[in-house]
């Protein structure tokens, strides 16, 4: 309906080159898209905050030994349950007299490790299953999607609990359990995307040029699934952090004395009414980090999801 007469505000130099309506090369077009995406992203302050939170988490994990003012495992029973600010514990100390700030800092790499492993493995499994089901179709599709549905039929935490119950408590098993429960949604997404892409004319054209299914899936379908998968991963990470924390809280995830945030809350539970900070502070850390992922995911969706952009 809208007229294509543009009252162009003139751009200069590289910006004009990026924003041109007639890109001369594929790279120019891609960079232009990237630039437009960045502009949308930048104009969303919440997404930017989320991005900064995650950057801060990564920096914290890398520089943990430098940031921690105490040894996170060093007990000092004379200085147990100090309130924040007392005796040099600016976030207080726990029931064994360990510095909470140092433990939070050393908990960052643990959280990051869980997130990173799940973020790589679960979408990969999902992508493999989903594209295979969507592209090959037939009984393979039926079988794979039924399996996916069965896994989706369990609430995630409950299934993870059952897995950990069998595998035994511990951070590796917690990660494994979370991965086992996290892949089905990706399979669903990848299958749906594959189904739409598969019928597209350009895939038919590629097939006519002699490309085999492997090449079509890896070279054309996977790249196109990526943006929706990335959005989902980012939004999912908050859930992964919460599930890991829940497992830790129940004593089924990271084992003491590891400074995993969920387990730290659990440790503070016994005296939360008198020494509120022991449970409160690790919870705040979890909250901030998963909020960061949620904000970033929301922002990325606005940038990457073309359907929502036009709406």
């Amino acid at each position: 309906m809208a007229s294509d007469t543009l009252q162009s505000t003139s751009h200069t130099g590289w910006r004009a080159w990026l924003l041109t309506d007639t890109p001369a090369s594929r790279m120019q077009a891609r960079l232009g898209q990237l630039y437009l995406g960045w502009r949308t992203f930048r104009s969303n302050p919440l997404a930017l905050i989320g991005f900064l939170i995650i950057v801060a988490l990564v920096l914290m994990a890398i520089f943990a030994p430098l940031l921690a003012v105490h040894d996170p495992y060093a007990q000092n029973l004379d200085l147990r349950l100090r309130a924040p600010g007392e005796d040099g514990y600016w976030l207080g100390s726990d029931d064994l007299g360990r510095d909470i700030w140092s433990r939070i800092v050393h908990g960052a790499p643990i959280t990051l490790q869980i997130v990173a492993i799940v973020a790589v493995t679960a979408p990969t499994i999902g992508l493999l299953v989903g594209t295979a089901a969507g592209y090959l179709g037939g009984w393979i599709d039926v079988v794979l999607m039924r399996i996916t549905d069965i896994f989706l039929a369990f609430p995630r935490l409950v299934l993870a609990l059952a897995f950990v119950a069998v595998l035994g408590a511990g951070i590796e098993n917690a990660i494994l359990a979370i991965t086992l429960t996290a892949w089905p949604p990706y399979a669903r997404i990848a299958r749906a995307e594959t189904l739409t892409i598969r019928r597209a004319d350009f895939i038919a054209a590629i097939r006519l040029q002699g490309a085999g299914p492997i090449r079509i899936i890896t070279g054309h379908i996977w790249p196109l699934c990526l943006s929706s998968i990335i959005i989902r991963v980012t939004l999912d990470m908050a859930g992964v952090i919460l599930t890991a924390a829940g497992l830790g809280f129940l004593g089924l995830g990271a084992q003491p004395p590891l400074p995993e945030w969920g387990a730290m809350i659990s440790a503070g539970r016994d005296f939360f009414l008198d020494s509120w900070w022991v449970a409160t502070i690790p919870g705040l850390a979890i909250f901030i980090v998963s909020l960061g992922f949620n904000l970033l995911g929301d922002g990325l969706r606005d940038v990457l999801d073309p359907k929502r952009k036009s709406a």
């Binding site: 919440l46 039924r146 399996i147 549905d149 069965i150 896994f151 039929a153 369990f154 609430p155 995630r156 935490l157 409950v158 299934l159 609990l161 059952a162 897995f163 950990v164 119950a165 069998v166 595998l167 908050a238 919460l242 924390a245 829940g246 809280f249 129940l250 004593g251 089924l252 969920g262 809350i265 503070g268 539970r269 939360f272 009414l273 509120w276 449970a279 409160t280 919870g283 979890i286 909250f287 901030i288 998963s290 909020l291 992922f293 949620n294 904000l295 929301d298 709406a311």
Partner: protein, 354 residues
């Protein structure tokens, strides 16, 4: 001028057949899913543990008990046979005996389930009552401050560990303000097991018994956990309502409603929300199911004698029969709720109805 009569006639003969087929295929999917669900728990319980007997009886069991359980579980038989026995057991409601309570798991679950149901139901009601209007408001004011407030409020809910929020709630409303009951379950300790269980839901049972002291005591205990679960379902419901509404408000029939001269309120609540209410049913059923999950962690904090606490207790005591029984029940409830939402969808949406 009668271009529709023929089509309408065709449409009228078909539905019975088509509806039957659709129902059959839905039932088929459910049957397969349930079968798979039982299969997965079988794998978890029997195949994955190095020694499934040990997982059931625990390390302290004597040789006789070990052997008895070994044969009871049919571990001398082939896996296929074992699965067949397990499947028939589960379908007849035989989940084995809990080592923790020394009672059949199915009895235990029947006893604890109403408590979870009570909590989750109040939670989901809170979620609907606040979540739907918030989502609608956010969509109407898309991109402006009410939208940002609602979105942030929802994102906060998505980002907090539920058990942590429960602890924070207790610190403030129990520890500091003393507005709510202690985290001792559904009533204070000295009121426990007084009201005869009719429905298993203490609010209803105490009302039936006419014991208002216990009723109000129960209310003071349910408020906080229900509010916390409610917040989670609110976060989900408001977010989904918002995105449904944004899509709906961009549709042409909304313009039609405005062309008619309807007020914005009628356009939004009568026309757009009317259309959104159908997919919302699915969302509400899902959020109900999600509360089952949320209740696992919430119940442990509040010592709420429900399914969640039962499962976690069993877990911590390596009571595998109870864990698997609980998992199957939660899975079946999940599937059941999905099925219910599917049925409701068919009933409520005129497009799916004919």
């Amino acid at each position: 001028m009668t271009d529709t009569t023929a089509a309408a006639g065709r449409r009228r003969t078909a539905p019975l057949v088509r509806r039957g087929a659709a129902l059959l295929s839905t039932l088929g999917v459910i049957a397969v899913t349930m079968f798979g669900l039982i299969f997965v728990t079988f794998i978890i319980g029997r195949v994955m543990p190095v020694d499934p007997v040990l997982a059931v009886v625990g390390e302290r069991a004597s040789k006789e008990i070990y052997d008895r359980v070994y044969f009871e579980m049919g571990l001398d038989k082939s896996l296929v046979e074992q699965f067949w026995i397990y499947l028939t057991d589960v379908l007849t409601g035989n989940f084995g005996t809990s080592t923790l309570t020394a009672r059949p798991v199915v009895e235990d679950i029947a006893r604890v389930f109403p408590a979870t149901l009570e909590l989750a139901t109040i939670g989901v009601i809170i979620g609907i009552v606040f979540g739907v209007p918030m989502g609608v408001t956010a969509a109407v004011y898309q991109g402006r401050w009410p939208d940002h407030v609602v979105r942030l409020f929802g994102l906060f809910g998505y980002s907090m560990p539920i058990f942590w929020l429960a602890l924070m709630g207790l610190i403030i409303f129990y520890g500091n303000l003393d507005w709510v009951g202690a985290p001792t379950g559904r009533v204070d300790v000295f009121y426990q097991d007084i009201v005869p269980p009719v429905t298993g839901m203490i609010l209803i049972d105490s009302a039936i018994a006419g014991d208002w002291t216990i009723f109000w005591n129960a209310v003071s205990h349910v408020v906080l956990p229900a509010a916390i679960l409610g917040y989670y379902s609110l976060a989900y419901i408001s977010r989904m309502t918002r995105s449904f509404m944004i899509e709906e408000l961009s549709k042409e029939y909304v313009t039609t409603a405005r062309v008619k001269g309807l007020s914005e309120r009628a356009v939004i609540w009568r026309h757009a929300v009317g259309n959104v209410s159908v997919p919302l049913i699915t969302v509400i059923a899902l959020s109900y199911a999600n509360l089952l999950e949320g209740s696992v962690l919430t119940e442990t904090i509040f010592s709420w004698p429900g399914l969640g606490q039962y499962i976690t207790n069993a877990l911590l005591n390596a009571d595998m029969a109870a864990v698997l029984g609980g998992t199957v029940v939660v899975g079946l409830t999940f599937v059941g709720l999905n099925m219910l939402s599917d049925v409701l969808y068919r009933v409520l949406d005129p497009r799916a109805r004919s």
